[in-house]
């Protein structure tokens, strides 16, 4: 009997909802700034990942290997690049006309100008990673050649 009453209650609530509709906000709308926020969070995560990567290398036996030392440099440069790009995105939040014509604040304009040269950091970072990998490949070849020479 109690179960039957409970069923009526649920029916009444649902029927009431249909008679007096209201916005339920069940779906969240994603506005334009969300993209920028996500991108900035992405930069923070990327930087954190590279800090962790470099830290782990420094605290392991790999730190004695030249290739992994280069890899650490690459990771550190990527951390700096993320910081640079993050700042650049914040500075670019101003209106486009300010960006194109100057905000009137010379220091801010100069900072914004240099913040757009982030390739000066990310290209050397990739170069370090490339050199590290090349060293690792060369070391493997040497190791294999040494093994084959052994009688």
């Amino acid at each position: 009997m109690q179960v039957k009453n409970g069923g009526y209650m649920v029916f009444l609530i649902l029927a009431g909802g249909l008679v007096f509709p209201e916005a339920a906000f069940a779906i969240q709308f994603h506005g334009a700034p969300e993209g920028l926020y996500l991108h900035q969070i992405g930069h923070v995560l990327f930087a954190a990942a590279m800090v962790g990567f470099a830290y782990r290398i420094r605290n392991s036996r790999l730190r004695h290997d030249t290739a992994w030392q280069l890899m650490t440099w690459g990771a550190c440069l990527l951390v700096l690049w993320n910081g640079w790009a993050f700042t650049g995105h914040i500075l670019s939040l101003d209106l486009v006309w300010q960006h194109l014509n100057g905000s009137g604040n010379a220091r801010l304009d100069l900072l914004r100008y240099y913040s757009q040269m982030d390739h000066l950091l990310c290209v050397p970072a990739l170069l370090c990673i490339y050199l590290a990998l090349r060293k690792m490949v060369a070391a493997k070849y040497q190791h294999r050649a040494g093994k084959e020479e052994q009688p």
Binding site: G35, G42, G52, S60, H119, C122
Partner: protein, 369 residues
């Protein structure tokens, strides 16, 4: 912003973007070679995924940057407005992918460290096994040589003695009948027989010579070395090792062979025991030598198996040669010692080894006797 200021920015952006694509592609190429060289290395696999994610990020980002310049300078702002969110969104997604990949770096390093230490341990164990095997082969080879020599000596001695005796009687008879005219032939034959007897004596001395390589051994040191050798194996299985030895305990023998024998006994015990078991190795001095007792509280061996454990080629384990305990007994016998094994199922196994303390005197006594 005038052209003079904008030009270096555009140049750096376009050249940098192209440079990133080239460098990322080169990185990917190197990491593919690296992972192909050693597919089982988890660090290489990890680097492959990290560099692959970096490559995709660089590609999306650089293509986005170059496209932006191209579209803006050709007055296609609308098209760029459509593409820009995709380019930015993909970049953001790749940041998160790189973050996710990097989370595993710690685990990969732990895994690598464990692999390295395991490999070192396996190498050290296999070296020990190899040396043990070589020592056992030497023992068996020496023993076989001595046994062959003794058999040969035994087989030759009897006929030679009979021939020698018969020849003496023949010489005597011949001297009575012919007045010793064939004496020189008899003398020649006797000389050859003497040579054969000398050969038999040399064969018999071989066993004695084998024992001349024996030297005084401090048993406490030897047993402690054996215990330290097997400690890592015992600890990895969660087995406790207890060791106590009398300082005075010593014997005369071959240190390498005896160490091999005790290592084998200890390893057998570790293999049979489960985690939480205790293996005790004790040595005590008795009047004529030293008694070494190895006791474990493992699962034990049933009586039917106990009676065969020292037989060659007898084993209850898959892949085992069944020669181990037979070699151990051989080594103990070489030292004029005794070995016994007693076991109760569910309670444990006890191996008792007796080694005489004055083997050199024992051998001398035997030889003179």
């Amino acid at each position: 912003m005038n052209f003079c200021f904008r030009f270096p920015l555009v140049c750096i952006d376009i050249v940098g973007s192209l440079g990133m694509i080239v460098l990322a592609a080169l990185c990917l190429h190197q990491v593919v070679i690296l992972s192909r060289q050693d597919r089982e290395n988890p660090l290489n696999t990890y680097l492959f995924w990290l560099v692959a994610a970096l490559f995709v990020l660089c590609l999306f980002r650089s293509v986005g940057h170059i496209l932006k310049h191209l579209l803006l300078y050709t007055w296609h702002q609308d098209l760029w407005a459509t593409i820009a969110p995709w380019s930015g969104g993909l970049n953001s997604a790749m940041f998160i992918v790189i973050f996710a990949v990097t989370l595993f770096f710690r685990d990969v390093l732990i895994f690598m460290n464990r692999m390295t230490s395991d490999r070192a341990r396996i190498e050290s164990t296999s070296k020990q096994l190899l040396s043990l095997n070589q020592e056992i082969e030497t023992v068996v080879s020496d023993r076989t040589k001595v046994e062959m020599a003794l058999n040969l000596a035994h087989e030759i001695r009897n006929p030679v003695m009979i021939i020698s005796g018969l020849l003496r009687r023949l010489r005597r008879k011949n001297a009575e009948n012919t007045g010793g005219s064939n004496g020189e032939y008899h003398h020649e034959i006797q000389q050859q027989i003497n040579q054969l007897e000398g050969l038999v004596d040399r064969f018999e001395k071989m066993q004695q010579q084998a024992r001349q390589a024996f030297s005084p051994i401090e048993l406490k040191k030897l047993l402690a070395e054996a215990i330290e050798n097997v400690r890592p194996e015992a600890e990895s299985k969660g087995i406790k090792l207890v060791f106590s030895a009398q300082a005075a305990a010593g014997c005369h023998g071959n240190e390498g062979y005896l160490l091999s024998a005790f290592l084998h006994l200890l390893r057998n015990s570790i293999e049979a025991c489960r985690s939480g078991s205790i293996i005790e190795l004790r040595s005590s001095q008795v009047a004529s030598g030293t008694v070494i007792t190895l006791h474990d509280n493992g699962p034990g061996i049933n009586a039917q198996v106990v009676s065969h454990v020292f037989e060659p080629f007898y084993s209850t384990r898959d892949g085992a040669t069944g020669m181990g305990l037979s070699y151990v007994r051989q080594i103990i016998h070489e030292h004029h010692g005794k070995i016994t094994l007693a076991s109760v199922v569910g309670k444990g196994t006890t191996v008792e080894v007796f080694l005489p303390s004055h083997l050199d005197l024992l051998i001398e006594g035997k030889n003179s006797g």
